[in-house]
Symmetry: C2
Subunit: 355 residues, 2 copies
């Protein structure tokens, strides 16, 4: 049996929870919008599942639900912000919009943030840029959760990046990738199903490649995507975010994460490039479509039924879930209901679908 929730009910619930812990209405609305969009797009790992963790962090003073975003520097081209540990969704939407505004004026805009908190699903932000006629590129650092290539202990974060661009015939193409080969939750799922994972997803506590999901879950050591390439790129992203912003880098964030659902005080970078400064926007969008068509028309390899371009599955899932609702797993459902009781706000209506 699967439990289904409508997006609007989930949004209202998240918004109320945020306000209960002290967030102003505008912050609460933004966080709810970004979080539920992740669920709509099928990225449940970064949706409302994270809400109980945010509440815990707020109660421990690690997130400030009404944190003020400080402006260290703001020019027509760049900005340097201090997130004040405000909700990462709010900080990131603000920063991406600033970058877009600058790009509109001078061709490119770059906004760098320190002391932000978890931004949820990365793809949300470049899509803001893409819908405004820009290419959007975002980076974030995170606590050490991968062995740097050649180490057997976590020494670098799987620092995600996300890039989005508009196209003529549909929603933006948007890449959202962490620098680990596989998501931790994917490995947990394999373990539950008693399946081996492919070699190259994780290592055991000695840093040895293993196909045993339990050994990876125990070691908490994800393998970098593309081995040395993933850890090298993750390192450069930490320099671009944690170091350049004057914030914390992976090892310092790992200390910050002790005993908490995850770290806070992340650093994020937002770049917007105004497309029309280089090519008429409509011509650009048509050319993106041409490239995507060329890629999608490639002959299928064995074992594949389609060529999937970045973001495509999410937009398809969104169309479906806007119609039928968002499925919630039992653990998340119970945690959200417990949160409703604790905070004294009404829970959301659900419907059950027989399998």
């Amino acid at each position: 049996m699967e439990t289904i929730v409508q997006a609007e009910h989930l949004r209202t619930f998240v918004e109320q929870v945020y306000q209960t812990i002290g967030a102003p209405k505008e912050y609460a609305q933004t966080s709810a919008e970004v979080m539920v969009e992740a669920n709509l797009c099928g990225v449940d790992s970064h949706g409302v599942r994270m809400l109980p963790g945010f509440v815990t962090l707020a109660r421990n003073g690690k997130i400030n639900p009404k944190g003020k975003i400080g402006v260290i520097k703001d020019t027509p081209v760049i900005a340097h912000l201090d997130g004040g540990l405000a909700p990462g969704h709010v900080v990131s939407v603000r920063a991406m919009k600033m970058a877009v505004e600058k790009a509109r004026g001078v061709g490119i805009g770059f906004v760098l943030v320190r002391n932000s908190t978890h931004w949820g699903r990365a793809a949300y932000y470049p899509v803001i840029a893409a819908r405004e006629g820009c290419l959007g590129i975002c980076f974030v650092n995170t606590e050490s959760n991968m062995p740097y290539w050649g180490t057997r202990a976590p020494r670098i974060g799987n620092n995600p990046l996300s890039i989005g661009a508009p196209r003529a015939s549909g929603d933006p193409v948007v890449l959202d990738m962490a620098m680990s080969q596989a998501a931790f939750f994917k490995i947990v799922l394999y373990n539950r199903e008693g399946k081996k994972v492919p070699l190259g997803w994780g290592v055991d506590e000695q840093g040895r490649p293993t196909d045993d999901p339990a050994a990876i879950i125990k070691s908490k050591r994800l393998v970098p995507a593309g081995q040395h390439k993933g850890s090298g790129l993750a390192l450069m992203i930490d320099i671009l975010t944690g170091v350049l912003s004057g914030g914390m880098f992976c090892g310092e964030l790992l200390n910050e994460a002790k005993g908490m659902p995850h770290a806070t005080a992340y650093s994020q970078a937002f770049l917007a490039i105004d497309i029309a400064s280089f090519l008429p926007l409509e011509a650009f969008k048509r050319r993106v479509d041409e490239l995507l068509t060329y890629v999608k028309e490639g002959p299928l390899a064995e074992g594949f039924s389609e060529i999937s371009i970045p973001g495509e599955r999410s937009w398809r899932e969104k169309a479906l879930r806007e119609r039928v609702g968002i499925p919630l797993d039992e653990i998340t459902l119970n945690e959200l209901r417990a949160l409703a009781e604790q905070t004294g706000i009404p829970s959301f209506p659900v419907s059950a679908i027989e399998p």
Copy 2:
């Protein structure tokens, strides 16, 4: 027996060859400098080995050794250039320096180029930025040479990116990575030695993973680094370069490459971020050192004797080769000598080292 050439002799030779095919002295000097730097840094695949191919392309009108770089747009923040098929080294040095100059003025600079040609070793360019107190980021597109994840035919280039940053205690940290898991030449080497390659480096003509290097050499199909992640990032890089610049994308470049050593008319993007706009430069450099020390002090995984951070091996190799000279493989040596005969310029002195 190994043949050794001193860098200065190789530089003089390359410079003369370029001038013989019509390059002005300044262009020839720049190309020679970038090309021989690749050999010094141990990246022989992108050094003088490429010279005969450049000459062939020039003779076929695919590279214009005296091509003028056209300025489509130039503001204090961004520039849009047309490389005029001039030598890619020359175009790229010019573009990166422009980006740095803009960054110095306004905090960030972005220069986008179409109709450039092969830039050789990517890492050369962000190092220019790093030595001027900037973070440098460069992207380039190339002809389709990888199956996009899920296809069995090449449908995307292995579009490299390179990122460089200064540090306090040594040469810049510089990442230089193509989006394929392994370099083609590495697979050729395994084949010569009769060894199997790890699964995940290449696929056969049906798109099936194989450990047989001969099957990969035959199919010319490299696997994207991190599977779908490498091909996704490569796609976004093609949008940022080939599409946004108004140039050609991977499939069009593949047509361009027919019967030639490789394609031309590549698109390149150069981003410079002025570090001092965000953090005092010396503080930044010390923080980079702290991060690198943290990573390098990680406990070694089995089978590793050190943790290598991006660029480290190249700088070490450069120190060695500046002292003892550059080893040249027999095929390259013979091709360069043939070029000397054809162009009527004197060959370079070599010394032989007994193994």
